[in-house]
C-alpha cells in the first residue's frame, strides 16, 4: 500500500514538473527514428532535396509533409520515411499511402514523393437502444474528418428519441468542431461544442412541461507522455423550463444560467475506440459549477467525477477474442468480438457485448442494476451501427 502511494506521489511529481516546464520526460516522449538502416541502400548516401505529394486532391500537402521528420539537405533516412508512411496511414484520412524517390537535380539528390489514395472523409454512427419498458432510443452521428483538407473534424450528433418512442419526447443535437493538432502541433488539441436539448415528454390533457437547454463549450488540451492528456474547459448554458398546469398552477416559467470550468486528466491506450483488444482508458474530471436562477446570485459548487475503464483481452484461436473491463467504477463489461470471419463481407468488424452494471447514487440510498446486451458492426456502407437492448431495476 505504501509503495502504491509512493508510486502515485512520484507520478504526480513528474506530472507537475513536466507540466510546469512544458516538457515531457524523454523516456515518455515519442521515439524519433534514429536508425540509419544497413541495407542495399548503403551504396551511396542520398540527400533529400524536396518533398512532393500526389493523389491528394482534398488534403493539403503540408499535412503530409508534417509527418515526414526529415530536413531538406540532410541524408534520407529510410526508417524515418517508413515511420512517416505508417503515421500517415494512422491518420484515418487515406486508403493507402506509399513513398517513392525521384531523381533530384544532381546525382545523389532525391525528391521524396508521398502518394496517397484518399478515403471518404465522411463517417457515421447509428445507434438503436431498446429498453425493456418498451422504450426505444435512436441516435445518429455524421461527421467529416478532413475539413478544409487539414485534418480538422466537424461532427454532429442527433438524438431524436421521439421518432421511435411516443413517450419520450426529447431531441438532442450536438455539433462539435475538433482540431486534433492545434496550429499543426503534435501535442495540443482543441474542441468546441454547441448543444441543444428540447424535452416535452411530460404531456397530459391539462398539463404540459417543456424544457429547453442550449450550451456552448470549449476545451483546450495537451497530450503528455505516451497516451495521457490534460485539458481545461469552460461551458456556458442556458435553460428554460415552462410548466402549464391548468388545474392548479396555470403557468410557471423558470430560466437559469449555468457555467462550469473543468480540469480533466486522462489516458487512452486502447488500440481502437470501438473494437479495442488491448489497452486501457482512464478519465478524471474536476468541475467548478455555478448556476443562477433568473436574475439571482450565482450559486457555486464543486464536483469531482472519475471514470476508469480497463480492458484485458483474452485470445482464443486467433479468430475471436473476449474482453472484460470495468467502466465508471461500477459497470463490469464483457465483450465478445469477432474480427476475422466477416472481414471480406460488407461488415469489416463486429462484436457482441454484455454489460452488467450496478450503480450507487451519491445523493441517496438508491442502488440500481442494469444489464445491456448488444452488438456493434463496422459496415463498409453505413459506418458504425450499434444495436442494444437493456433492462434495469432498482435494488
Amino acid at each position: 500500500m505504501k509503495q502504491r502511494i509512493r508510486k502515485l506521489l512520484s507520478l504526480q511529481w513528474i506530472l507537475t514538473v513536466g507540466l510546469t516546464l512544458g516538457i515531457s520526460p524523454s523516456a515518455f516522449t515519442q521515439d524519433r527514428a534514429d536508425a540509419t538502416t544497413a541495407t542495399a541502400a548503403t551504396l551511396e548516401p542520398l540527400i533529400l532535396s524536396a518533398i512532393e505529394c500526389s493523389g491528394n486532391t482534398n488534403t493539403d500537402c503540408e499535412i503530409l509533409r508534417r509527418e515526414v521528420h526529415l530536413q531538406v539537405g540532410h541524408p534520407v533516412d529510410e526508417e524515418e520515411l517508413e515511420n512517416a508512411r505508417i503515421r500517415l496511414q494512422l491518420m484515418g484520412l487515406f486508403r493507402s499511402v506509399s513513398m517513392s524517390l525521384k531523381k533530384g537535380a544532381e546525382r545523389g539528390q532525391v525528391i521524396v514523393n508521398i502518394d496517397v489514395v484518399e478515403g471518404s472523409p465522411w463517417f457515421s454512427e447509428t445507434s438503436i437502444e431498446a429498453h425493456s419498458k418498451n422504450r426505444i432510443a435512436l441516435s445518429y452521428k455524421l461527421g467529416h474528418r478532413n475539413l478544409f483538407g487539414t485534418g480538422k473534424i466537424l461532427q454532429g450528433s442527433f438524438y431524436p428519441s421521439s421518432v421511435l418512442d411516443r413517450i419520450d419526447g426529447t431531441y438532442n443535437l450536438y455539433l462539435e468542431y475538433i482540431d486534433p493538432h492545434l496550429f499543426g502541433s503534435q501535442n495540443y488539441f482543441m474542441k468546441t461544442q454547441l448543444s441543444g436539448y428540447f424535452d416535452n415528454r411530460d404531456k397530459a390533457e391539462n398539463y404540459v412541461s417543456t424544457r429547453k437547454y442550449g450550451s456552448f463549450g470549449f476545451e483546450f488540451g495537451r497530450r503528455i507522455f505516451d497516451f495521457s492528456h490534460v485539458a481545461i474547459g469552460a461551458t456556458v448554458s442556458e435553460s428554460e423550463i415552462i410548466r402549464r398546469d391548468e388545474l392548479t398552477d396555470p403557468f410557471e416559467e423558470t430560466r437559469y444560467t449555468s457555467s462550469n470550468y473543468s480540469f480533466n486528466y486522462g489516458w487512452d491506450s486502447q488500440d481502437d475506440p470501438y473494437f479495442a483488444t488491448e489497452g486501457s482508458t482512464f478519465d478524471a474530471n474536476l468541475y467548478q459549477y455555478k448556476e443562477r436562477y433568473g436574475r439571482g446570485d450565482f450559486l457555486s459548487k464543486q464536483n469531482f467525477s472519475l471514470d476508469a475503464k480497463n480492458s484485458l483481452a483474452l485470445y482464443f484461436n486467433g479468430s475471436y477474442d473476449s474482453t472484460v473491463g470495468l467502466s465508471g467504477g461500477s459497470a463490469l463489461e464483457w465483450n465478445h468480438q469477432f474480427r476475422r470471419g466477416l472481414s471480406d463481407a460488407s461488415i469489416t468488424s463486429s462484436k457482441l457485448f454484455l454489460k452488467p452494471a450496478v450503480s450507487q447514487s451519491a445523493h441517496n440510498e438508491l442502488r440500481s442494476a442494469r444489464l445491456e446486451l448488444g452488438a456493434v458492426f463496422d459496415t463498409k456502407s453505413f459506418g458504425i451501427i450499434k444495436l442494444s437492448a437493456y433492462s434495469g431495476m432498482n435494488l
Binding site: 474528418r145 497530450r223 505516451d226 488500440d271
Partner: protein
C-alpha cells in the same frame, strides 16, 4: 466443361522440394505467389524493399529447425539497376552477404519467388519413413515489435481527450462515443498487427504469406536447385 472453366482461375500452389547435398538435405521453396501490385510499386520506388523468408521444419510434431533468409532490394535511380543483398548467401562459399545487380525486374522477381535453404536436414532424418513437414512464411517490409509500440503512440497522437463536460450540467444525454470521429480506418494496420502470430521479433509486415503445413517428400539427388549461383 467444368474443368475447362476452372482451369484458368486455378492458382499454382507453393512447392517444396528436397535435394541431397552430401550428408545434408537442402530444401527449395518455389512457386510462391507474390504480391505483384505491391512489388511493382515498391521495387521501382528507389527505397529499400526488405523481404524476410522463414522455413520451419516439423519432425515428430515438434519444431525441428527454423531458418531465415533476408533479401534487400534497392533500385538505383541513376544506373537503373536493382541492387540485391541476400543473407545468408545461397552457397556456403559465398561471402556473408551476397550482393548482386540486375537490370531487369523479372530477374529480381525470380530471386524473391524461390528460396533455397541449405543443410536444413540430414539425409538420416528421412530414415524409417519419418514424417517430416514444412511450412514457409514470407514477409514483405517487416514491422518489428518495437515499431508496434511506436505505432500505438502515433495512434494516440491523433486522439482528442474525451472529457465529457455534459456530466456537470446534469444533462443525461450520452457523450460522443468517439472523440476522434471514427477510428475505423486506423484499424486496418492494427488488425494486421494484432492478428499476427509470429513469435519472433518481427511481428508483421506490409504483406505476409504463410503456407499450410506440408509433408516433405524424401530428397532426390541434387539437380541444382533454384537460387544457386
Amino acid at each position: 466443361m467444368t474443368v475447362l472453366l476452372l482451369w484458368p482461375f486455378s492458382v499454382a500452389a507453393i512447392q517444396f522440394h528436397s535435394y541431397v547435398q552430401g550428408p545434408y538435405v537442402d530444401v527449395v521453396v518455389s512457386d510462391i505467389e507474390l504480391p505483384m501490385d505491391q512489388l511493382n510499386k515498391d521495387l521501382g520506388s528507389g527505397l529499400t524493399t526488405v523481404i524476410v523468408a522463414h522455413l520451419t521444419v516439423i519432425k515428430k510434431q515438434t519444431v525441428h529447425t527454423k531458418n531465415q533468409q533476408e533479401v534487400r532490394i534497392r533500385f538505383d535511380l541513376w544506373d537503373e539497376v536493382y541492387n540485391v543483398d541476400q543473407a545468408p548467401p545461397i552457397t556456403a562459399s559465398a561471402p556473408a552477404t551476397a550482393n548482386r545487380k540486375f537490370k531487369l525486374k523479372e530477374e529480381v522477381l525470380k530471386i524473391i519467388g524461390t528460396y533455397r535453404f541449405n543443410q536444413i536436414l540430414r539425409t538420416s532424418d528421412f530414415g524409417n519413413g519419418e514424417d517430416i513437414r514444412v511450412t514457409f512464411s514470407m514477409i514483405v517490409d517487416p514491422i518489428s515489435k518495437d515499431k508496434k509500440q511506436k505505432i500505438k503512440r502515433w495512434l494516440a497522437q491523433n486522439r482528442v481527450g474525451a472529457s465529457s463536460s455534459s456530466t456537470a450540467t446534469g444533462d443525461s444525454t450520452p457523450a460522443a462515443a468517439d472523440p476522434l470521429g471514427s477510428g475505423t480506418k486506423n484499424r486496418s494496420l492494427f488488425g494486421q498487427i494484432l492478428d499476427s502470430e509470429f513469435s519472433s521479433d518481427i511481428t508483421t509486415g506490409q504483406w505476409v504469406f504463410t503456407s499450410p503445413v506440408t509433408a516433405l517428400s524424401p530428397p532426390v539427388s541434387n539437380v541444382g536447385g533454384a537460387n544457386e549461383k
